[in-house]
């Protein structure tokens, strides 16, 4: 399984909350401003307005970014307690800082397997930034990519860009996001696949995201280079925030 992401909370000075996130050579800087004043035309009487801006590493946003924005927006809407802060705006900005070498070749961007591979990173960054900004949340979320190669053998869970490039073309790519209770929050799939395959992919993603530390072994038929039982993303998230809280609460502990 791929190594766990690294993340720092509150890396920026100006924004209300921010996070810098690095995973598999994707680096994303996320910032959250909110709750702030909302423009009249965007104001919702009974809930907060969420605004998601995704900015690519190079160039201005394309329909690809707009599509990702919609997906992130809809997912975050069910995570943020929007009813608690009605008539306000929560602004989420996600700046892609660097991409793996395989994906950043500007001229031949055909190497980019799919826009979906970026989605889990964006979701994690935005959640961390929201936590850093102390926006009321209903739950946390974890997300991962599962790619099924053409021969259907050996599903890849959160593959590196290199793996994707080498096993190209992929038959299907799935992104799953789970909330803190392990319920499915988002499912976005691309390509050809059957119900059984989807079930299997979903189960694998769930294992990576939510289980792991409970001693539940990884399923057979999953080709992972035996790195031992890795931590689940859920536990990783807890760790990142826990460390930050510890640092911030130093002054209390010291006295």
């Amino acid at each position: 399984m791929a190594p766990l992401p690294t993340a720092d909370l509150t890396t920026l000075h100006r924004a209300d909350g921010s996070a810098t996130y690095t995973h598999l050579s994707h680096t994303i800087i996320g910032s959250v401003n909110g709750p702030i004043e909302v423009q009249r035309r965007d104001e919702l009487p009974s809930s907060a307005t969420l605004e998601v801006n995704i900015r690519p590493a190079g160039g201005v946003g394309t329909p690809r970014e707009r599509h990702l924005e919609t997906l992130v927006h809809d997912t975050l809407r069910s995570v943020v307690l929007v009813e608690k802060i009605p008539r306000t705006l929560v602004q989420v900005t996600l700046q892609v800082r660097s991409l793996p070498e395989e994906e950043s070749g500007g001229a031949d961007s055909s190497t980019t397997a799919s826009s979906l591979t970026l989605l889990p990173h964006l979701l994690h960054t935005s959640l961390l930034a929201l936590l850093s900004a102390s926006i009321p949340l209903r739950t946390t979320l974890t997300s991962t990519v599962v790619a099924i190669p053409r021969d259907g053998q050996g599903m890849l869970v959160s593959p590196t860009a290199n793996e994707l490039l080498r096993r190209r073309p992929m038959r299907s790519i799935h992104v799953f996001a789970f909330d803190g209770e392990g319920k499915l929050l988002l499912n976005e799939s691309e390509g050809e696949f059957g119900v059984e395959e989807w079930d299997e992919a979903c189960e694998m993603a769930e294992e990576v995201c939510c289980k792991g530390d409970g001693g539940v072994g990884l399923g057979e038929g999953m080709d992972v280079d035996g790195e031992g039982q890795a931590q689940s993303l859920e536990a990783w998230l807890r760790g990142v925030v826990g460390r930050k809280v510890e640092v911030e609460q130093r002054w209390r502990v010291a006295t």
């Binding site: 920026l12 000075h13 100006r14 924004a15 921010s18 050579s25 800087i29 910032s31 401003n33 702030i36 004043e37 423009q39 605004e51 801006n53 900015r55 590493a57 190079g58 160039g59 201005v60 946003g61 705006l89 602004q91 900005t93 700046q95 800082r97 660097s98 070498e101 950043s104 070749g105 500007g106 001229a107």
Partner: protein, 292 residues
């Protein structure tokens, strides 16, 4: 989109009073910059510049297109500055603020129009193919001095960037990827950098590298772009109050000193980065660069 929070009357009076007494809020001298921190990414052409709490990332990317019909022998070079709400909630995507327009214009004048980059070297086949270079300026954190920081970031990124090598056979051009052949640095003719002076009290007091609070209080600004040889590329003045010609002359002297310092820092960081990349000591052998 909320408006930028305006500075309060008390704060304004406080800053001005302090300046009268030769004190800046952060204790710097009037002609002192915040420490410049510059780092490069793992890829070529990414520069991360920090002046105190201001942080700007510039990123260079390259593409192959047809040159403009009226400029057949030139490549295309474009600087894109788009503010995002990350720097301040007052920035809205797709609706440029005045600060953004001024930044874009100054960078255009300083870097593009002063021919800092030799665009002719970006031409592959005259009239048919050329490299289109674009510099994206991302404002990550905003605490004043955006113009100076962006200019340093773009110039550092340009010097750090390497473009892929090409083989031209008649009308056919082959772009060699980074794996096939060591990429080539851009041909940079000179390094213009900007120094912004904020003036107060009808041009009596000049500050270098004002932070956001000082920027909101100032009467106007003078932006001087020059290279380390003291050649001025552009002078721009925004804001109402008049300034004395002699004071302006004095500003250019200060600017020259600052530009020299920055150039030295950029050079030092570039050398450090080159050393880091040149792990096996093979770079000199691999390089396909021709001496100018």
């Amino acid at each position: 989109m909320p408006r930028e929070a305006e500075i309060s009357v008390n704060e304004r009076a406080f800053i001005l009073q302090a300046l009268q007494e030769d004190i800046r809020l952060d204790g710097r001298a009037f002609d002192a910059f915040r420490p410049l921190e510059l780092s490069f990414g793992d890829e070529y052409g990414v520069a991360d510049v920090q002046f105190g709490k201001t942080r700007v990332i510039a990123r260079i990317s390259v593409d192959v297109t047809a040159p403009l019909p009226e400029r057949k022998f030139d490549g295309i070079f474009q600087i894109v500055t788009e503010f995002s709400p990350m720097a301040s909630p007052a920035f809205e995507v797709g609706r440029p603020t005045d600060a953004e327009v001024i930044l874009a214009r100054i960078l255009e004048k300083t870097i593009r129009r002063s021919n800092a980059l030799d665009t002719e070297s970006l031409c592959i086949i005259a009239g048919l193919k050329c490299f289109a270079l674009r510099a994206d300026v991302h404002i990550i954190d905003h605490d004043g001095g955006l113009i100076d920081a962006s200019c340093v970031a773009v110039m550092a990124a340009l010097q750090h960037f390497r473009r892929p090598d090409v083989i031209v056979e008649g009308e056919k051009a082959t772009i060699l990827s980074i794996r096939e052949r060591e990429p080539i640095p851009l041909s940079i003719l000179h390094q213009p950098l900007c120094v912004t002076f904020s003036y107060f009290e009808e041009g009596e007091i000049f500050l270098v590298d004002a932070n956001l609070a000082e920027e909101q209080v100032r009467q106007g600004e003078v932006i001087i772009s020059m290279n380390k040889h003291g050649e001025i590329c552009q002078v721009a003045k925004y804001g109402g109050a008049t300034i004395d010609a002699l004071a302006l002359l004095n500003c250019t002297n200060v600017a020259l000193q600052k530009v020299k310092e920055f150039s030295k820092t950029i050079q030092k960081r570039l050398e450090e980065d080159a050393k880091k990349r040149d792990a096996g000591g093979l770079m000199a052998e691999l390089s396909a660069e021709n001496a100018r």
